[in-house]
Structure formats: C-alpha cells, structure tokens
Amino acid sequence: MILTRETAGGRWRIRPDGPGKVTGRLKYLTDLALPGMLHGVVLRSAHPHARIRAIRTERAAALPGVRAVLTHRDVPGLNAFGISRQDQPVFCSDRVRYVGDAVAAVAADTPEIAERALGLIEVDYEPLPVLDTPEKALSPDAPKLHPHGNVLHRSEYRRGDVDAAFAECVHVVEETYVTPRQMHTYLETEGGLFVPEPDGRLTVYAPTQHGLLDRLQLARILGVPEEAIRVVSSPIGGSFGGKDELNIQPYGALLARATGRPVKIHHSRRESVRAGLKRHPMRITMKTGIDASGRLLAHRVRIVADTGPYATLGAEVLNFATEHVIGPYRYANLDVEGVSVYTNNGMSGEFRGFGGNQAIFALEGQMDRLAELAGIDPWEFRLINLRRMGDPGPFGQQIAQTDGAYQVWVKLKESPLWRERDSLKRAGEASASAQSGGAARPPWIRTGIGAAMVMHGFGLGYGIPDPAAGRLRLAEDGRIEAIFGYEEFGQGLFAAIEALMIDTFGIGPDDLRIVVGDTDRVPDSGSSTASRTTAMIWQALRRMEQPFRRKLLEAAARLTGRAAGGLTLAPGGVADAESGVLLIRYADLAAKAEETIGAQAHFHFPTTDLERIGAHFLYSYAAVAVKVEVNLLTGRVRVLDQYHAVAAGPVVNPMGYVGQIEGGSGMALGFALLEDAVMENGHYLTGNLDTYLIPTIADSRGTVAVEPVEELPEGDPYGPRGIGEIGSVGLAPAIAEAIHEATGVRVSRLPVDPALLIRRPEDLWKAVDGR
C-alpha cells in the first residue's frame, strides 16, 4: 500500500519537535547568544597548495576590539583531527593543501571587527603545483601531499577469473561513469557557541552527528580530559553527513579557551562551500559480460575517488563503494579495485549514501546497457541475476537474510508506473507523447520511464567500533525519560523515539521526555550516521522493555497493594490491566518509589563474520521507477512521476518514512540533473547558492509514491532496517534510463549535460513528418 497521511491513519503523528519549528521558537545552536560573547572567524588558505613561509598576526592583534588571534602555535594538544585518521591540521603551520585550510582564527567584539582583523593577518605563501585531478596526483612525479604519498586508501575484491570469463561472454558492455562533487547544502551552515564555564569546563553548542566523538576529538586538540568538555549537539538544521566531521568546533573551542569568554562562530555560505565536505567525485569504469541467457559471467570495476586534501572518512566511503558496485546481483567472476586519492581540491567525505550513490549509478547503468544488448526487458534482466533469500552478501559474506531484493522487484513490476511504461512502449513513441499528456504535445517533448534497484548496507560494518546504547528512567517529576546519544538533524529522531516508546509501553506522549544531544547526559549510543539510529533504538528498547516494565509494575504493586500481574502501563500512570482504571500516576510512583526505576542497554551493531573492514550484515532494498520528460529544444529534463518500493522492515514513523524517501529522492534529483560544485585549479567556481543549484519546488512538482514492504522473515530479530540514505540512491540511475527511453541517448556523466539531449531542427522535422 502506498504510504500517505491517509493510509497511515492514527500512526501519522505530529512531530514532537514540530511546534517549535513552525513557529520559529526552537533555538538552533547557531541561534544562541550570550551577553559579552565574542565573534570568531577563521582565516582560510589563499591557495589550494602552497608552502607557508611566515604568518604575522601582530597588526590583527593590535586592532581595537580584537581579543585573540590564534595560529598553529596556540594549539595546546594535537594539532590535527579526523574521525578515522587525524591528518587534517587544526591550523596549518608550514603548508596548505586546499582553499579551506585554516591558517589563523580571530575572536573580536563584533563580527565586523573580526573580519577586518582577518585582513590584517599577513601570510607569506610560496605556491606549489596544484594537483587538481586524481590522475595528476597519481603520476609518479607528483609532489607528495602526505608523507605516505597521495593514496589515501586502496580497496579490492576478486573472485574467479574475469579475463577467462570475458572470452566466454556473448555480450560485453564497457563504460566509464563520472559523478559530481555534490554539496550537502544543509540550510543551516556550520556554527555554534563555545562557553567557558565557571568550573573550568567548556560547553560546546555545535551541531554534529556524534557528540561523544566530537568531545574526544576536541579533548585531544585542547589537551584536556574528555570530561572537561560538554558537547550539546542538537537540534541541527540539516547535516546529511556534512557535519559528521569537526568543522568550526576546534576554532570556537580554542578561542573560548584563549579569551575566557563565550565565542560564537557561524559560517557564511561562501565559507561553508569553501571549507566543508562534499560527495566524492568518482570515475567508475565497468566492464561487464553476460552469457546467452543473460547471466552475469564477469564484472570488472575500477573506481577512482577524489578525496581532496585530508582523510576524514574517505577510506570508508571507498570501502562502501567497493561493496555496492557489486550490489544485489550474482556474478560468476568479479574483479573490483578502487583507489581514493588525495588532491588539492575541496574536502570530500561522508554524505548520505556514502559512496553507494556513485556505485549504483554505474552498476545500474551497466544493467540497462546489457539488457538492451541482449534484447531482454531491463527489469526482467535484473531478475535473472538478482540475489535471493539465502544468498550471501556482495563479498560472499554472511548477512541477515531477507527477500527484500525480490520483494521490491515484484512491487515495482506491478506498479502503475511500470505498467504505464509497457503501454508507452506498445503505443510507440509518436503516439505516446500525445497519450500521456492528454492533449497533443509538441514533438520536441519526449517522455520515458526507467527503473533501478538498490541494495544498501547500513551500520558502519565489520571491524569498526559501532556501539549502541540507551537508557530509560522514571524521572523525579514522573516523566519517563528515553535517553539516547543520537542527534536530531531533521530525520525525525524525536518522532521515532516517541512512536517506539508509545508502541512499546502503551504510555502517552505527555508521559515521555526525550533526552538526546548532550554528552553530559547520554550513553555512548554510537553515531547518528549510516542509517542506523532507528534500528538501534528499536533494538535497545527490545532489550530494555521487560526489565523496565517489570520494575515499574512491581513498584506500583508495592504501592497499591495489588499483584503486579494484574497491572499494566497506560497513558498517565499504571492501570488495572482488566478495567483500564488508573491506579497510580507516574508522578506519584516516582515520588514514592524506594529506588530509581530504570533500565539500560549496551550492545554492538550486528556484524557479519567475514573479516573484511566495512562489510555489512544488514541491508535495505529499494526499487525506483521514474517518468521523465525531455525537451529536445533545450535539453532539459523534468521529473514527472516517481515510484519507490522500499523493503526495510516495519515502518516506525510513517511521516518520517515518507519524508526520508521523498527528501532523499529530491537530493538524488539534484545529483542527477543539477548539482556540481565546480572547481578549477583547486578553487571553487561555485561559491554560493546563486551558482550551486539545488532543486527548487519548481523542479519537484512530480508525484512521489512510496510503498514500504514491511514483512520480514519469521523470527527475524533485527526489526526495522535503515531508510535514511536509501532514498537518495536509486533515482539517478532510473532517470538515466528514463532519458534513454525518451531520447535513445545514454548518459554516463552526472549531472546530465543538456547539450547531449538537444536535437537539431532537421531531426525534429523528421520526427514530425515521419520521413
């Protein structure tokens, strides 16, 4: 059933954080201000690659109203950060490697004075050759960007003998796919408030996707124990992976520590573009062959990722891409190699989809090309090779079994949109455009429908610390606190926790207090990344449900003189299980109970037993169909209708589920048709939202139907699967196939260049005239 407000019925609930958001009352961390606070700004490198000869800050420091000017000399602890490996300097000392590199930071009484002071800092640079492509960086005579060279990471997977297998193939397709430097474009740019406390601790109010990891990284930089720092990290005005790594936090923390005063930093959009993460541009070459019956005999893949100057999670993104260029299909022989290369371009890093978007755009492109060569319907072709229940994962690893791939395959096959494609094809191109538009369309408007499959791993994967935890507690005021170390960046964390707490315990929304985003209060639940949080909350509640309920009921039994077995949790308090009559309010229970009533769970995200870093155990599946309209005069593509079947277990929060798939697909629409942070010689040509174009409402008028497949195999212990990223993956390859259906043109580079789709008038004339 298509999931909508109407079909969700009573489970479609107003988000607990909604009223604050629609009224403007909710304070984001970049909205905070304190009396006497200073304003911090960061001096970024003038060059994409240069040696630093000297840094002189005296004139800036002498400007009235300037309270601190900091450089590499002022970092008490580790002058480096990075979630996975710490190779990014907080402040550069002798060399800059990209235009976002920080050289100095200023705190001043006003933003205007701080900006003026930046202009007074003198840095002597000696420009170095700019490695602005992975190819240049990989050439033997290229300067080394890091002591170990210009390769961040290599990844490979082999099975069988692809060379021998290609000789036996009846059809072989070879293609190179190129994907853009997509920007997260969270509407709230990076920022926050940094407050030295009277007890000597530092409170950091700044968005992140893992508060405790920020605390660890900041403790290293400041050279203080982790307990000396408190990180408050929610609510967040969008992240999509982009605020996972540290951004302004080191500067705010150091400036606050240096001045002893609160310091606020809030990036301009230009600085956010310049310094912030992007999606890895990838060049993926694939050679794939099939036998006469359409079976995949050989699949050779080469991935080159431009990771920019520093690591962050570039290696992990490449591992993910390596897994997902194999994806949901069976192959007789495989040969995959990837390399993630340091360059002097912008920072690439974690971004919703995590390398899967690039991988699956390429993989699904191969499937469509092979199907065409073999003369097989593209969707039927996928079924010939699709992994089914009982199959291992892409690396041959043990995975949690579901039949998700086949389930979404069937749903798409039966969807109205795919059936429309069949009738479009039967009717033929000329009459099709007239039929689908109602009134006759001009001959330069062509429509087509395409589809794609997605298999998306979630959780961080084998060999990476991936803890999960939660706490429940009856607070002194009678509220039941659900405490998790996760972050609310819009995905609907509050709504998911509320829905699960109500469904699990039968309490009312007013009985609940949700505590997240504060390292002083939460357990180490792991990161809010990799589509993992809802699943981890569900699994934590499964562990805590019985002990917490039992303690509540036993305490109520003692206080009411009834048998615990005859009691139940209800909105407002503990009630008689039979009559439903309320016997004791939670507030009274809290006041009178002899000990604190609580429960906690600590566990690790379930992993596969294959010893391969990053290999996944849990997967979600999606099938996406899309109808597009191509204007042959302008080359512009309009997305008309979308259909998404998603197999990810039970729907926890219907509004959030629809929102994640619709919103993810909006991002994929931009990836496919609009977005690229263009760089030239290591400098951004797209500096703000006038040249970096994300979809507007006018680009997004088409319908989006979301159909969840909730059923899991009997006895499945893992519950809801991740859906935070999967919606952002499948639309791009589906659009590429739909464009091919409409025009006969195969696109292999994103965003789609309209020039490729423009047809000359004589061709048009032929189309109209039939000659």
Binding site: T23, G24, T185, P235, G237, G490, G666, M667
Partner: protein, 174 residues
C-alpha cells in the same frame, strides 16, 4: 515599545528608524544600511528568521514588509521607515496561536530539520493572504524563492494545499 541602541556603530553613523515589528512600534538607532537580518538576529535576538546564503537565494530569512515577502538579508534598515514588518514570531498574532499554514505544516509534515521552515511558512502565508485559493502553479511560483533540502518539497506542497483547505473551512465555503 522596543527601544534599543546598537552598541556597534559610531553614533554619527546611526539613523533613527521607526517601523512596526510584529504589531509593535519600534524605534531603532542603527546605521541606515545595516541589514534587517542582522537587526533581527543579532540586535533584537529574534532568531526565528534564519540565515542561509545572504544573497537572496535561499529564502530562509523571508519576512513580510507591508504584507509582501522579502529577503531580510537584502533589506536595509532605511528601507523600513514607516513600514510594517512581520516575522515568523508575529505571523499568528499571538504567542500560542498558530496560523493556518503553520498548522498545515505540522499536520502534513511539511518540514524536517525545520531551518527553512519559518521562511517557507512566511512565503506561503503571504501567498494565501493575497490568493486564498491558489492553483498549484501559483503555489510553486510563490515558493520558488525558498529552498528546502530535507523534504523534496512533497510535504510542503501538501501542507500548502491543506492550508488552503483549512482556510476554506474557516470561511464556511469548504
């Protein structure tokens, strides 16, 4: 009346600007070219109005000036002399009240992270004040200056359509 002297500019640079803010008369001594967004967010601590690009492209800072939507990042204080400014905080006309558009956004899920939401709601409210029963083309035109990165706009379109329906019910014509 809100009176506040901005500590930032030298007194010689300041001009006294009188306007109405969310129904209240305001007199402010500010540099005439200071941006409205800075006065709202920094000087008056009215942070419901957001800031996203500072060049009038994202719409996060949308406010109403005499009922028409404008980007507060492109509005200078001298332009406001004698005018009526409404921000998200004043849209519903009361602390606990909700505008029909706000209610519809809540019910339909027309937001996720919520950062674009005040601007989006201000633009939608301006449209409905002028055209209570807009076509989809008119909705799209009215919201094309407001970017949202979370929702893909599906929930936003449904929310505005619902706000139209709420308005019809209120009029007794629905």
């Amino acid at each position: 009346m809100i009176e506040r002297t901005n500590p930032l500019p030298a007194a010689a640079d300041a001009a006294v600007i009188s306007f109405t803010l969310n129904g209240e008369p305001v007199r402010l001594a500010v540099p005439p070219a200071r941006r409205l967004i800075d006065v709202l967010r920094h000087d008056l601590l009215l942070t419901g109005t957001k800031i996203g690009c500072e060049i009038g492209r994202c719409g996060a800072c949308m406010v109403l000036v005499d009922g028409r939507p404008v980007n507060a990042c492109l509005t200078m204080m001298y332009q406001l002399e004698g005018r009526r400014v409404t921000t998200i905080e004043g849209l519903a006309g009361g602390a606990e009240a909700l505008h029909a558009v706000q209610r519809a956004f809540l019910e339909e899920g027309g937001f996720q992270c919520g950062y674009c939401t005040p601007g989006m709601i201000v633009s939608a409210a301006a449209l409905l004040a002028e055209r209570p029963d807009p076509t989809d083309d008119e909705i799209v035109e009215a919201l094309s200056g407001n970017l949202c990165r979370c929702t893909g706009y599906g929930g936003i379109l449904r929310a505005v359509r619902r706000a139209v329906a709420i308005g019809r019910e209120a009029d007794g014509t629905g």
